[in-house]
Symmetry: C2
Subunit: 335 residues, 2 copies
């Protein structure tokens, strides 16, 4: 838990760190939050705990010149919430470790906190603790999210069997398209233009929606045999799921739902939909006999292929040969 001396260190330059970040209303499962050595959580009986931790590091996961502070806070918590969604769990509490450079403007921290807390409140998540420190360089955040699911009901990556159908929620490649756009601006060195993307045209990148409700319904109705979130990109996340399940897969390129982005709502290239990460959609498998509605909780569901004995993953492309699909995961923002 945060120590007072670090707190003071952080306070020296950026005032409202711990206090303003951690003023969320306590949920009833969080018995003691900030102000003791540990947070104390009391779960309902019959539940298992889900725990996930994710870094958000400046220069690796976000850039101050690309991302508004609210977006950084929102995306930071989304990373954790999306992992809870991928288990079919319900989020309970979050813990934020935040290290800040001495010269960071106070307003940045306030806006970051707002982005994070808005999302936390939307999903009834209590900010129950964390740590603060001075950063040796750049803004460093690590988010821990705890959730619950009924004992034995969490949807694992390892449940897929040959013959299962593969579904994906929403659309893919939208987040990576924003990164591609910002990167190409860098290359052109249009520094005078300073063409910042409008977050409204690229919501899936700047304000991704964790699929908590969808994951919960899939778990409750016993529809998903295996599940993962598309944080690394379809090719990589499907490879994870197949590896944990000991199976392979075939995907149909024509079926993959490609995101529409930008002012002109242009469909992204297949490559971005296949390999671009950070869409935070759910990728799940379904036993042969089960019916899946066209959408759940307002999110479209698309069948994109099926599970094979494996171990390889193949991609069918129309008017083309079948390819082996290699995971070409997400590289974040290489400097």
């Amino acid at each position: 838990m945060a120590k007072a001396a670090e707190q003071r260190q952080a306070d020296r330059s950026v005032r409202p760190t711990r206090t303003s970040v951690f003023t969320s209303v306590f949920a009833k499962s969080v018995f003691t939050g900030i102000g003791d050595d540990c947070a104390v959580l009391r779960l309902r009986p019959g539940q298992e705990s889900l725990v996930t931790t994710d870094f958000s590091l400046e220069g690796i996961h976000f850039r101050r010149d690309w991302h508004p502070p609210e977006s950084v806070g929102h995306r930071c918590l989304t990373r954790g919430l999306s992992d809870i969604a991928a288990m079919g769990g319900e989020p309970v509490a979050a813990f934020l470790s935040l290290a800040l450079p001495r010269d960071l403007p106070q307003s940045w921290v306030g806006r970051f906190a707002r982005g994070l807390i808005n999302l936390a409140e939307k999903f009834g998540v209590t900010l129950a603790g964390g740590d603060t420190a001075e950063s040796p360089g750049g803004i460093l955040a690590d988010i821990v999210v705890m959730g619950t699911a009924p004992k034995g009901k969490s949807v694992l990556r390892s449940g897929a069997r040959p013959g299962d159908r593969i579904f994906v929620s929403g659309e893919l490649g939208g987040s990576a398209a924003a990164v591609a756009e910002m990167r190409s601006d860098l290359k052109n060195e249009n520094k005078n233009k300073n063409k910042k993307l409008n977050p409204r045209d690229y919501r899936r990148h700047f304000y991704p929606e964790p699929r908590i409700e969808l994951g919960r319904v899939l778990r409750e109705k016993g529809l998903a045999s295996a599940m993962i979130d598309t944080s690394d990109g379809l090719s990589t996340d499907l490879a994870h799921l197949c590896e944990e399940s000991g199976v392979g897969a075939e995907l149909d390129a024509a079926l993959i739902p490609r995101a529409r982005v930008g002012k002109l709502s242009k469909k992204v290239d297949l490559d971005l939909a296949l390999h671009g990460g950070e869409d935070y959609e759910l990728l799940f498998t379904v036993r042969a006999g089960k019916r899946i509605p066209a959408q759940i909780a307002g999110v479209a569901l698309t069948e994109v292929g099926h599970i094979t004995r494996g171990p390889k993953i193949f991609l069918w492309i129309p008017r083309n040969m079948v390819h082996e699909l290699k995971p070409r995961g997400w590289q974040h923002f290489q400097r």
Copy 2:
């Protein structure tokens, strides 16, 4: 949970990050660990969960030229375990988020992991997950430790009442004495001497022992009315405890157990014992009637003062006036 792309990024320079760090044996309360979106933990019924998170950042909490990698790993986990001890809890699982610079030698990571895992095994703690990433600068670790205590039995900071006696475990100031020594070497610019401290002469700094067993016994026997660990230093941690309990305190300087350090086992100055942090001893209060043995679980216990109506904290110094004691917490390693 760690994403494969980051994993690959980290792998590029320092091979055995996630795999070698996370190969601890799974405890029975950790149902699913590495390899899914979340870790799944199943606690015994009637338990409450304790959660604590702590940064260990290069240049802030440790320095590569001062601390052997094993010590960095050991101290990283100690910070979390000590918070569990201060609740009277039993540690269950740890989650390590680790960001590494591209050029970090592989051997550093292996030795860091060894230090951390040795301590984890000693206390039966499962390394159940975490995250890995490339660091934008310096080694960045964030440790999450989860523990349990019987429902309603965790020892909080807020339970102290006027008339309670104040106890501290072990000796104080030993860790800060090592830092003072290393700092004075810096000032003298004895660069040719490169006089590294021998960790054996300063064990409380390099390999502090979290007081898990002591905390558990104090909780089980109902001896401690309030408890905190001395991570920020006696003056600051007592101020935390008093603030949460709404009380004040009087300390007797002559009673404070001052650590013996260095080759000559010299007693540290009172100032270090009062204000030096990172000793990870337990500071606790005891109702007037209760008897406290001279030691518990092999750790000496010393009565150092008593709780008053407050709110101020006073220090009695022999042959001197009584002083108000202001918290002068721990500043880590200012660069």
